[in-house]
């Protein structure tokens, strides 16, 4: 093996996408009070890098990169296909909105360094780098390290306010996340023992349907589901996401849980496509259905706005797993070839924008009213019309009403469910839509209620924060109006199993 194999031509945007945020996190510590300025500089730059990477994938197809010039199985490769490019861009856009929102809340007085101001930005940069490492990694052990990096950035974010209940929530989050990584690693160990590599591309060639592989897949899937908070492993999510500062909640709920979901798909569709069975796909979707119904019902019963939004995440994550048995249909010559795949990915993206907007909006209601008890937010809509509009638009996407990204996503999933004769999943989606309508309207009704005397915010809400929320909500709607670009990008390097189905 040559020691240095020249990587593929073209600028290594794929490396820069991971390097930029991580180098920023390292620099943030000695920079101290300038960490915020650094992050506000790097996040727009990172969006440009993400777009350039997406453009490269679009023009040249799948991008792979052998780190250090050491090709797998000895070395580690990065790989960007359409799906990873979409996720990297989504991450950068959501972070841009969140950074715009947080730049005034996590800001130290001039010349001083405060705990929250330094650590929020340093953790945010670390979390961003970990997300990109997870979306672009092609080695199962390296992905384990990336997941741990993500956990260790996300858990302190959840307890940034260091109150008793957030400490308990963060600790519970840590336990679930650690148990999840260990199970994931255990599966990876078995795969290495059986096939001598953890490179996803090589595993796809070598792994066959054998008991060892099934055991490995079951362990890794279970571990990743604990990290994604899929029902019934969702218990940690609502308190952890609801207890964090609004900007952190938005990132945790919109992006962090998607990384482990992304890796479930990588594992099932890219690494072990010949190993998974149709029955396993049905089981995964059944858990998703449980999440949709259970999470929605609990969201309906929440008294506090942030918890309602958090339970809605539990429910919306369920839809993502319906795509596993629905993917395919390419062989049946259907016109929506791989429609469920596109629908599922689009749902992940539009939910990211919608959920970030909702959590930030909930944070602004909390700031204005001094509490987030839904029933007592009467008349807030007139006081904060822009934020209420953003909340409503994001709700539209969760409901799956046109025009929104959520509508196209759910419509694609629904049509594939009918076309493939799996009507029971269509029923679940229908029920989930009704329940979502219930909880979104329950949150909106008091906001839109007329009050005798106009409600004034207890604390002023800065304009730029309102714009950040509205911008994110508009992104989730825009996906419903112009979804074609991401669709075409998604085709690049799409796994065959996405077209032909599992099992």
């Amino acid at each position: 093996m040559p020691p240095v194999a020249a990587p593929e031509a073209g600028f290594p945007w794929i490396v820069l996408a991971i390097l930029l945020p991580l180098a920023g996190m390292v620099a943030a510590l000695p920079l101290g009070r300038h960490a915020r300025a650094l992050a506000l500089l790097l996040i727009p730059a990172g969006l440009v890098v993400a777009l350039l990477l997406a453009a490269q994938v679009w023009r040249e197809g799948e991008v792979t990169y052998a780190l250090g010039g050491w090709t797998p199985p000895l070395g580690i490769a990065l790989r960007a296909d359409g799906f990873s490019a979409v996720m990297v861009v989504t991450t950068a856009v959501v972070l841009l909105g969140v950074a715009l929102f947080a730049q005034s809340s996590f800001r130290a007085p001039p010349g001083e360094e405060t705990r929250a101001a330094l650590l929020f930005w340093a953790l945010l940069l670390g979390l961003w780098g970990a997300l990109n490492a997870a979306f672009l990694g092609n080695d199962l052990f390296n992905l384990y390290v990336a997941l741990e990096l993500l956990t260790l950035a996300a858990v302190p974010m959840a307890s940034l306010e260091a109150r008793a209940e957030t400490l308990a929530a963060a600790l519970r989050y840590l336990f679930f996340a650690l148990a999840g990584s260990v199970l994931y690693l255990l599966g990876a160990v078995l795969l290495y023992g059986a096939y001598g590599t953890l490179d996803i591309t090589l595993l796809a060639e070598r792994a066959g349907p054998e008991p060892v592989t099934w055991a490995a897949a079951a362990l890794m899937t279970a571990g990743l589901l604990a990290k994604t908070a899929l029902f019934p492993l969702h218990l940690w999510l609502p308190p952890a996401h609801a207890g964090a500062p609004a900007a952190a909640s938005a990132v945790l709920s919109a992006l962090v849980v998607k990384a482990s979901f992304f890796l479930v798909l990588r594992l099932w569709f890219d690494a072990l496509p010949g190993v998974m069975t149709a029955a396993a796909g049905q089981l995964l979707a059944a858990l998703g259905a449980g999440a949709i119904l259970f999470g929605s019902v609990l969201a309906l019963h929440q008294v506090r706005m942030k918890l309602l939004v958090a339970y809605s995440t539990v429910a919306q994550l369920g839809y993502l797993f319906l795509m596993v048995p629905l993917a395919g249909g390419g062989g049946a010559a259907q016109p929506w070839d791989a429609g469920a795949w596109s629908g599922g990915v689009l749902h992940a993206v539009s939910h990211a924008f919608a959920k970030a907007a909702m959590f930030l909006a909930a944070g602004l209601f909390l700031r204005a009213a001094g509490h987030d008890r839904i029933a007592e937010l009467r008349g807030m809509g007139a006081a904060l019309p822009m934020v209420t509009l953003a909340f409503g638009l994001a709700g539209l996407s969760l409901l799956g009403l046109p025009p929104s990204g959520g509508f196209i996503a759910k419509w694609l999933l629904l049509t594939t469910a009918m076309a493939s004769g799996q009507w029971w999943w269509a029923l679940v989606m229908f029920a989930g839509g009704l329940l979502a309508a219930g909880y979104v309207f329950r949150a909106l009704t008091p906001l839109l209620a007329r009050t005798e005397t106009p409600v004034l915010p207890g604390r002023p809400v800065p304009r730029h924060q309102q714009w950040a929320v509205l911008g994110l909500a508009l992104c989730s709607v825009a996906l419903g109006v112009a979804p074609l670009m991401p669709f075409a990008l998604l085709q690049v390097g799409r796994p065959e199993a996405a077209e032909e189905g599992i099992g």
């Binding site: 000895l74 052990f141 384990y144 390290v145 741990e148 956990t151 260790l152 858990v155 302190p156 307890s159 260091a162 109150r163 008793a164 400490l167 308990a168 929530a169 963060a170 600790l171 519970r172 840590l174 336990f175 650690l178 148990a179 260990v182 690693l185 255990l186 160990v189 290495y192 023992g193």
Partner: protein, 99 residues
């Protein structure tokens, strides 16, 4: 032969650690169980490496070292969380009081 013996030990340790992680309520007991569980996984990996022949496969060895360091980092964060939780609430378990 040695590899198989330690591989089986790793498998047993995973079960022991998993049991402690699920059954115990005290957060420090859980962290301890998590470390046992992780150590079982590493031992299993070490057995896989040893199957490659005398001297073993260095790639898993390096990965295990990485894993040990990562487990320590996570344990340190867990310990700090427990310490502050205990200070704030006088309790050392993250679950709500009624169980």
């Amino acid at each position: 032969m040695t590899a198989t013996l330690y591989g089986l030990t790793g498998a047993a340790l995973v079960g022991i650690g998993l049991y402690g992680l699920i059954v115990r309520r005290h957060a420090l007991r859980r962290l301890l169980a998590f470390n046992l569980l992780g150590s079982g996984v590493f031992l299993l990996f070490g057995a896989v490496a040893e199957r490659a022949g005398p001297g073993g496969d260095p790639v898993p060895h390096a990965m295990i070292i990485t894993g040990i360091v990562v487990a320590l980092a996570a344990t340190a964060l867990g310990v700090a969380l427990v310490l502050h939780l205990a200070r704030e609430t006088g309790r050392a378990e993250p679950d709500p009081p009624e169980g």
